[in-house]
Point group: C2
Chain length 207, copies 2
């Protein structure tokens, strides 16, 4: 059923996604045509037919701006609920700030949530600015785990080590000093363990 999309089909599909979920308005055929430089809406219509046949979208005849994105079993839409700093502390837990599509293989645990990483202090752990991390708040934290931690009212993503009287949050990137937290500091808390990262390579280029 779900055959591969051609380049243009994929591009159109992505554009629809973008318009629908980011901009908040499903594009009309004319708008899609304009975007891609087509001189005829019929061209778009044919591409949409192709997308429909390949089961990527669904439409009802006659209704304008009516393109339903079929939830792919190979692609999941997930909200990103905040940002964390990989370098110096940053804002966390705003609300849904973005959406990502994840390949289904990623298999998110039910309890996990997504945060976008800012800064590059974990560069050597292969986590980069703009990456989306998958955070499980229910895991038992172990030394060496990459965790999301809250300090005061900002948050960081760092490697976690603990000893007798302190917790150490370490960047992989030597440019950043480790953060030492005394155990009795009650303004500090670990939100969760990073169990995966996701990076959209296509979007990456645009940043």
């Amino acid at each position: 059923m779900a055959k591969e999309l051609t380049k243009i089909q994929k591009a159109i599909y992505d554009f629809i996604m973008y318009q629908k979920f980011r901009v908040g308005r499903t594009p009309s055929l004319a708008e899609i045509a304009e975007k891609f430089g087509f001189k005829s809406r019929a061209t778009v219509q044919q591409h949409l037919h192709a997308l429909e046949k390949k089961n990527y979208i669904k439409r009802e005849v006659g209704l304008s701006r009516n393109i339903e994105i079929i939830k792919r079993d190979t692609l999941i839409q997930e909200p990103i609920i905040g940002e964390v700093a990989a370098g110096s502390p940053l804002v966390v837990y705003s609300n849904v700030i973005d959406m990502v599509e994840l390949p289904g293989v990623v298999k998110l645990p039910k309890e996990s949530f997504l945060l976008r990483v800012r800064g590059d202090s974990l560069r050597d752990a292969n986590i980069f600015n703009g990456d989306v991390v998958i955070v499980n708040p229910n895991l038992v934290i172990q030394d060496g785990h990459i965790v999301i931690a809250i300090l005061e009212d900002s948050a960081v993503v760092k490697r976690f080590y603990r000893n007798e009287d302190a917790i150490e949050l370490v960047s992989e990137n030597p440019e950043y000093e480790p953060i030492i937290v005394r155990r009795d500091n009650n303004k500090f808390r670990v939100v969760g363990v990073v169990i995966g990262i996701y990076r959209n390579l296509e979007l990456k280029k645009r940043r």
Copy 2:
């Protein structure tokens, strides 16, 4: 600017919200007319003009199905990111499971998030099954605070008390036994402090 809406205006506004965010398709004037039994689209047009003048929506001329919801300072759309048990432990941190509209007076701190409460162990604290609690993950926890706590891989909402060697999670409802957690239990963690609750009385009836 933002005057009060009349009954019908509010109903139309809600319908647009519902269609746009739950169904995923902004309604056309004809669809709104049909929904409310209007025989003319002009009637809808006039209501939309009123909504626009009162700064509740925004439209661009000519474009179909193009109604932008203005983020009201008196009404906020927020995602609910999970469920917690007020009685026995339950699942927490699924992803966005619902949306609520909050009266703006609630003034959510940026970092806070929403969870829906299941069970009625906090009945005497006036928190009921189905309520949405506003959780701040960055507050310093104090005795007597109502908190969201994670035990193993489920979560509860209870009152929080601590003494020398243990933490006690107490239900307001005497039918539920307090949960005692030893301080060295590392499978236990407080996710945040409940700083508010929200209950939609209109929806409540449907439950």
